[in-house]
């Protein structure tokens, strides 16, 4: 088995063995604490530019499912390809087993030209990222050389967004999904509820589009890079059409409203994040994947904090006091993750 190593910007190295594609790759190194759902996580566009560390040590157990019709929205993936730069695990499974599996994790990554390293002490690596903060890193296979590269300097949302508007579903009501890197399950969540979706590029001027509500999607990178989206949302806030922001979308909504965002030390990535609804004793377990957060102190007058993270107190959602504008920092669509906060879709749809 060829050797491979992860080199971090601070000079530390984590040696292991190569799997997937034998190519070197650079990116921002982040960790996710979910115990299942690698096919969904790896295809989540929010991971664009990132090398993903999975803290759960056994990965690939149930293989990777196939997808029937590549012309439509993939059923088993969150976008049409693997989005991460590379994968770091303790163990990758060759002897996978599941009725839905079509290939091994390694073969799937090979096809997508994505490198992976196994045999790494992922707990050690995670602790490092936790204490030093998210860091740039690179996967180096054998003796190749490659430079570090900071993906956050690029407009990542633009890279993953659709280029032309696409329609889904045939419901009476329509929601515009501003695609900054939207996960398929957000679109499915509307379509399954009988709502049509008009998916538009991140910088598309949707203001004149006929629709009942606007969803600003999740996506990768720094929300401040999405200047066009922020400007469009700011205009939309002047009206009364319902707006829901999810993850990056919530941050864009905050920026549009006049609040500020900042980079978290190492972000929230996992399927077990407790979020408390302000003023209640309701606590929801949520799926999360974000490296930036809204600075609650900077929320303008008519906005309130909606949810907070019960672990570290950071903002997990915002809500307008009178208009149907909301933002959820977590992923109500799960995929992978719990469905505790799915009610947010129902609530949003009721305002349409």
């Amino acid at each position: 088995m060829p050797g491979a190593k992860l080199v971090l910007k601070d000079g530390s190295e984590f040696e292991g063995f190569s799997f997937g594609s034998e190519t070197s790759m650079a990116g921002e190194v982040v960790f996710n604490t979910g115990m299942v759902g690698y096919p969904e996580t790896m295809t989540d566009p929010s991971y664009r530019g990132q090398i993903l560390v999975l803290t759960y040590p056994l990965v690939g157990n149930y293989g990777v499912p196939g997808d029937a019709n590549p012309e439509e929205l993939f059923k088993n993936f969150e976008s049409d390809k693997i989005q991460i730069q590379g994968l770091i695990v303790s163990e990758q499974c060759e002897g996978f087993s599941h009725w839905s599996a079509k290939q091994s994790l390694s073969d799937w990554m090979k096809k997508n030209n994505i490198p992976g390293i196994f045999g790494v002490d992922t707990r050690e690596l995670t602790k490092k990222l936790r204490s030093s903060g998210t860091m740039l890193g690179k996967i180096v296979v054998e003796n190749t050389t490659i430079d570090f590269e900071d993906p956050n300097l690029r407009n990542l949302a633009a890279e993953v967004s659709v280029k032309e508007p696409v329609r889904y579903g045939a419901g009476e009501k329509t929601v515009i999904v501003v695609d900054c890197g939207v996960k398929n399950n957000i679109i499915r969540s509307f379509v399954n509820r009988g709502i049509s979706v008009l998916r538009v590029p991140w910088n598309y001027n949707f203001l004149e589009e006929k629709a009942d509500g606007i969803l600003i999607s999740n996506g990768p990178g720094d929300p401040k890079m999405c200047t066009d989206t922020i400007a469009n949302v700011r205009s939309a806030l002047a009206g009364n059409r319902s707006i829901l922001g999810i993850c990056l979308g919530s941050q864009i909504l905050s920026l549009a409203a006049g609040a500020n965002t900042y980079k978290l030390k190492y972000g929230h990535r996992g399927q077990n994040q407790p979020c408390v609804e302000m003023g209640t004793k309701k606590c929801f377990i949520t799926s999360q994947n974000h490296g930036f957060a809204v600075d609650t102190k900077t929320l303008p007058q008519d906005w309130r904090e909606w949810f907070t993270n019960d672990n570290d107190g950071t903002n997990e959602g915002i809500i307008h006091i009178s208009k149907p504008f909301f933002g959820a920092q977590f992923h109500p669509e799960g995929a992978p993750g719990p469905d505790d906060s799915e009610f947010i879709f129902d609530m949003f749809i009721r305002t349409l």
């Binding site: 299942v36 759902g37 157990n61 149930y62 839905s100 002490d121 996992g270 672990n311």
Partner: protein
């Protein structure tokens, strides 16, 4: 809300004696509950006759009642204590059943006792199969198709409708008692006939054999917050009881969609049912489509919740208690991280594996095939970062002589049968199958075990073949490290490459192949945690902790609960840890049993959930560099390691390992006794059958035969004749090649005595003498123990003390020790001496109210302990410890007590006199003490004669007496009226079997003669029938006599309701 009217006094029901299906896990949950209540300033009252538990310690509940857990006694405790709340979910099925009865009889209402947490109506919804099916259907979820039956005919009709094979489940059953897959009408008829002896309801349902079996632990608060703490997947699919299955946490072969779908279903159902606190939901999952069925919900803490708690680090029982008090989930602190909230779902960055421990070989005639009824007596849990690692660790943790998955001396003749009709050895049969060329698919077809698991087994097998290419010198790190990462032990590797463990250890250390210490922190390192919960792994490179510079002491635990080593040793370990902490030491606990309190997060400063093996202890010792290791608290497992550890340079605290060996080695100990002029039964150590016969001939039969290192009477037996001896030796000699067999003269009609004591530098410090109710011949673990002794002569006790003093001095004992002795008239002989705490330490400590373990620990650490002023002569009350058997669960086993131990648990109660304490104890183990009819069948003439007085008492009491032919004739001669029953149907009516079937008999006193041959004798069949019909059974003469005397003096209502502290 509820907290504003928070109860001031709460009654907690424990689970009583350990038995199959209900073991130490409820000591863990009850102890946690009490701690959680105390933190809120609530006065706690506990009813639990299991005296060896931690929860019945003086530092926990404010009031402890060692009383039977049935509504008769619990009602009286309620009337006396007037609690305003009751917790039903912490004492297993026993507490739940008592709770339901208290509610239905209106007792809770009458005394205005509020049920905290899940309400009784909800419990009933989960317990009654039909109600449950209805409730599930209300929210559109799927259960296995099922029909409730109240009679045998209804069951047969239901099965016809669903189609064979069907699953037959029994309502309100501990661990699925009486449940099973039924292939045809005849089987169903037989099974339901038996089931209706216990219950008035059975469930016939669609058979899901071969589906994946998965479980989730769910908590919910009064604010409707509902989360899942842990998911678990069974290695053994549907068809084998989850208690008998190998289980991994978290789930391994489920996709995110399947996993979160099952999570959502569980939460939906739990909300609909209205459970508050903790519960467990079990599913069957179709391995070919992801379709599911809900199997059941346990609305209480369970074996699985204890496992989940230890697997995740999430203190389920503690949190459940807070939720029952009305706290919101996010108002409870995550005690592990101390930084984050309890409202989160643990993320694991490791894998855990539970392996059940069976002791089936200890029973005669027992059916060893695993099915839907639980048979295991304990379990271990291994933690690691690969499946291969945890599996091999767990197999060694079982302490059954296996080196891991491979490298064992085991061979199966009928592989296919072993795999399709699984026994406790199936996994080894699978290994043999793969080695002999079976494909993964073929093994899957036979076993239904998921291919993922089978691939993993194959990885281990492949590594073994790779290792075979090398010897110690040539073994490269590229092979050695993967082997260690796959959980191979040094000894196991040595076995494969033809070396010894020490050499492999030295080699791997020189190559830098060392395990690392990792923490369990519930959050996969996402937040810093102040956790003390640790494991070793080779799948990592960094230690999570740095060595402490403080004074540290390691205490070795007892490993899995098994027959002969159970919760009593956990009590000793926990008490030792507490004493060490009080004395200012940092404590390190090593244990691998998820059912224990010693593995709780708040009991030691550092907990290593690890193997109790030389290799792992040395690894930990070398890393931690403690002052020393305590080996005398965890029973025989750590005791056996003492000398090996010592030879490897480990400092053993207390009595020196050489002296431990002097006591363990029969030769050395015998010489010491000879030099002290202390008597012992004549014995000889032998290695061949002929010299054994010769010896037995010389001293005269009966003789006692046993291997030199004894654990719970393993392979110990009395031989009454040369035939007996020959038959038995073939079994025993094969059992343990390392040590020869010892044969000794068996002294009949002698009294057996236990001496529990503590010494300091060879001086006896304190001691407690208890006597067996039964004559010698019943294993001390099965015997009924009386303390202080009521029958032993003063002269004898005086002499016992002198012997203890001399032995303590000769062996230079510092710490706990236990001696077993035989007294006949005033003649005393020493049977054995263990330089460690014994099974009866918690019993005598609690009855005497002097903590022997605390004293022993302090003395071992060189502290001065003031002389005691209290002795057993000061007691105005009596404690009686009685054994709990699990024969009902072990189909076919002969329910008779012998020198080989077969009880799974024990209780002890206090009384103003022997009879009162005795009755409370036997009621606690399930005896009917107000029989209206009794069947007498007493073996030999001397026993018949000895029982005559008691037979007369029974007659005077108006008890209807049935007797078997011989006993009946004897009674008639002595003017006692008895209705004579023929043995069986062939001999005509009226007969024993039909009377037992019809439950015309409340109690069987069936005392076998010494000459009763093994095999399917009439006596065996009747005993077995009684057990299967849930009829009280007595098989020992002295026990029977005491029982009759006691019931003639006391009715249930005469038994006093006094708490522990009221016995002064």
């Amino acid at each position: 809300m509820i907290r504003n009217i928070k109860p001031k006094k709460i009654l907690i029901l424990g689970s009583g004696a350990l038995q199959i299906g209900q073991a130490g896990e409820f000591d863990y949950s009850g102890s946690q509950a009490i701690k959680a209540l105390k933190e809120d300033g609530i006065f706690t009252v506990l009813v639990n006759p299991n005296i060896a538990t931690i929860q019945t310690s003086d530092h926990l509940a404010d009031k402890v009642y060692f009383l039977p857990l049935n509504i008769f006694f619990v009602e009286q405790v309620i009337a006396k204590e007037k609690p305003d709340g009751i917790l039903l979910g912490f004492g297993g099925q026993t507490a739940l059943n008592v709770g339901v009865q208290l509610y239905e009889k209106g007792i809770l209402e009458k005394y205005n006792v509020k049920v905290l947490g899940t309400q009784v109506e909800v419990i009933k919804d989960t317990e009654d199969r039909q109600l449950f099916s209805n409730r599930v259907a209300e929210v559109g979820l799927k259960v296995a198709r099922s029909v409730t039956a109240g009679t045998v005919q209804e069951a047969l009709d239901a099965a016809d409708k669903i189609g064979y094979p069907v699953m037959c489940r029994v309502a309100y059953a501990l661990g699925g008692l009486g449940s099973g897959i039924v292939q045809n009408k005849a089987e169903l008829e037989e099974k339901t006939n038996r089931a209706f002896a216990f219950t008035n309801q059975v469930l016939i349902e669609e058979c899901l054999y071969g589906w994946k079996e998965v479980e989730y632990e769910i908590v919910r608060d009064v604010h409707d917050n509902c989360i899942t703490i842990c998911s678990m997947e069974n290695f053994d699919p549907m068809g084998i009881h989850t208690g008998d299955s190998i289980v991994v946490a978290p789930v391994q072969t489920l996709t995110a969609k399947e996993n979160f779908n099952l999570r959502a279903i569980g939460i939906k159902l739990i909300r609909h049912l209205g459970i508050i606190g903790e519960c467990n939901i079990q599913y069957a999952l179709d391995p070919n489509s992801g379709d599911y069925r809900i199997i059941e919900v346990n609305a209480r803490l369970s074996r699985s919740s204890a496992l989940a708690s230890k697997a995740t680090g999430y203190p389920l029982a503690f949190v459940a208690t807070k939720l029952a008090l009305g706290y919101a989930l996010n108002e409870v602190e995550n005690i592990i991280t101390k930084e984050t909230s309890a409202c989160f779902e643990p993320a694991l960055d490791y894998i855990t594996l539970k392996f059940p421990r069976w002791d089936l070989q200890k029973f005669e005639h027992v059916n060893k095939v695993l099915g839907t009824e639980m048979k295991s007596v304990g379990e271990v849990m291994a933690i690691g970062r690969s499946f291969e690692e945890v599996l091999q660790k767990a197999i060694r943790m079982l302490d059954v002589g296996m080196n891991g998955l491979v490298g064992n001396d085991i061979d199966f003749a009928e592989l296919d049968k072993e795999i399709t009709q699984p026994t406790d050895k199936r996994i080894f049969a699978i290994v043999q199958a793969i080695k002999s060329g079976y494909s993964i698919e073929k093994v899957h077809e036979l076993s239904k075990v998921d291919n993922w698991f089978l691939h993993k087994l194959k990885n281990i097998i492949d590594l073994e073949s790779k290792l075979k290419n090398y010897n110690l010198e040539t073994l490269p790190i590229e092979v050695l490290r993967p082997a260690k990462q796959a959980g191979f032990s040094d000894k196991q590797i040595a076995g494969v490459i033809g070396s010894v463990a020490e050499a492999v250890r030295a080699k791997r250390k020189s190559l830098g192949v060392l395990p690392v210490v990792k923490q369990i922190d519930t959050l996969a390192a996402e937040y810093p945690a102040k956790t003390n919960y640790l494991y070793l792994t080779y799948n990592g490179r960094e230690n999570d902790i740095v060595r402490s510079t403080e004074k540290q002491v390691i205490v070795l635990g007892s490993g899995p609960y098994r027959i002969g080593s159970s919760v009593e040793f956990d009590w000793c370990c926990v008490n030792s840890l507490m004493s060490l902490q009080k004395a200012g030491y940092k404590t390190i606990m090593i244990n691998c049993n998820p059912e224990t309190v010693s593995t709780d997060y708040d009991v030691s400063d550092q907990l290593y959930f690890e193997e109790l093996s030389l290799e792992k202890i040395l690894d930990i010792y070398e890393f931690q560099q403690p002052l020393g290791v305590v080996v005398s608290m965890g029973g025989q497992t750590p005791n056996n390691l003492a000398l090996k550890l010592h030879n490897a340079g480990v400092k053993i605290l207390g009595t020196t390992p050489e002296q431990i060996d002097n006591a363990e080695s029969r030769h050395k100990f015998s010489q010491i006794l000879d030099s002290l002029e202390i008597d012992q039964p004549e014995w000889k150590e032998l290695t061949d059958i002929d010299s054994a016969k010769e010896f037995a001939q010389r001293v005269g039969y009966p003789v006692l035969v046993r291997p030199s290192y004894v654990l719970s009477g393993a392979a110990m037996s009395i031989s009454y004749s040369e035939d007996d001896l020959e038959l038995f030796l073939k079994k025993a000699v094969d059992l343990n090649k390392e040590y020869p067999v010892v044969i000794s003269k068996f002294i009949t009609k002698a009294r057996e005595i236990e001496m529990d004591a503590v010494a300091n530098n060879g001086e006896l410090f304190c001691y407690a003498i208890s006597e067996h109710l039964e004559n010698a011949g019943v294993h001390s673990g099965d015997a009924t123990l009386v303390f202080p002794p009521q029958k032993t002569y003063l002269e004898t006790t005086r002499r016992l003390k002198v012997i203890a003093k001399e032995v303590a001095k000769a062996l230079q004992i510092t710490g706990p020790f236990n001696m077993q002795l035989i007294a006949k008239d005033n003649d005393i002989k020493v049977i054995e001496c263990n330089l460690r705490a014994s099974r009866s330490f918690p019993f005598v400590s609690k009855v005497l109210k002097i903590n022997f373990i605390d004293i022993a620990t302090r003395l071992m650490m060189g502290e001065s302990v003031p002389k005691l002023s209290r002795s057993s002569f000061d007691l105005d009350y009596v404690g009686v410890k009685a054994s709990q058997f699990s024969f009902t669960r072990l189909k076919g086993s002969d329910p008779v007590t012998r020198v080989e131990m077969s009880s799974t648990g024990e209780v002890a109660c206090l009384g103003d006199n022997l009879n009162e304490a005795f009755l409370k104890s036997v009621i606690s183990t399930g005896f009917n003490v107000e029989p209206k009819s009794v069947l007498l069948s007493i073996g030999s003439l001397d026993k018949k004669t000895a029982f005559l007085e008691e037979a007369k008492i029974l007659q005077t009491m108006g008890v209807k007496i049935y007797a078997t032919t011989g006993t009946g004739a004897f009674l008639k001669e002595n003017n006692i009226e008895a209705e004579v029953l023929e043995w069986n149907l062939e001999n005509g009516q009226p007969n024993v079997m039909s009377h037992l079937s019809d439950k015309k008999i409340d109690l069987v006193i069936g005392i076998p003669s010494n000459t009763e041959k093994a095999g399917l004798s009439n006596g065996y069949l009747a005993r077995r029938k009684a057990i299967d019909q849930n009829i009280s059974l007595i098989t020992n003469l002295e026990f029977a006599r005491r029982y009759v005397k006691a019931i003639s003096k006391f009715k249930m209502s005469d038994l006093k309701i006094k708490s522990w502290d009221e016995y002064l």
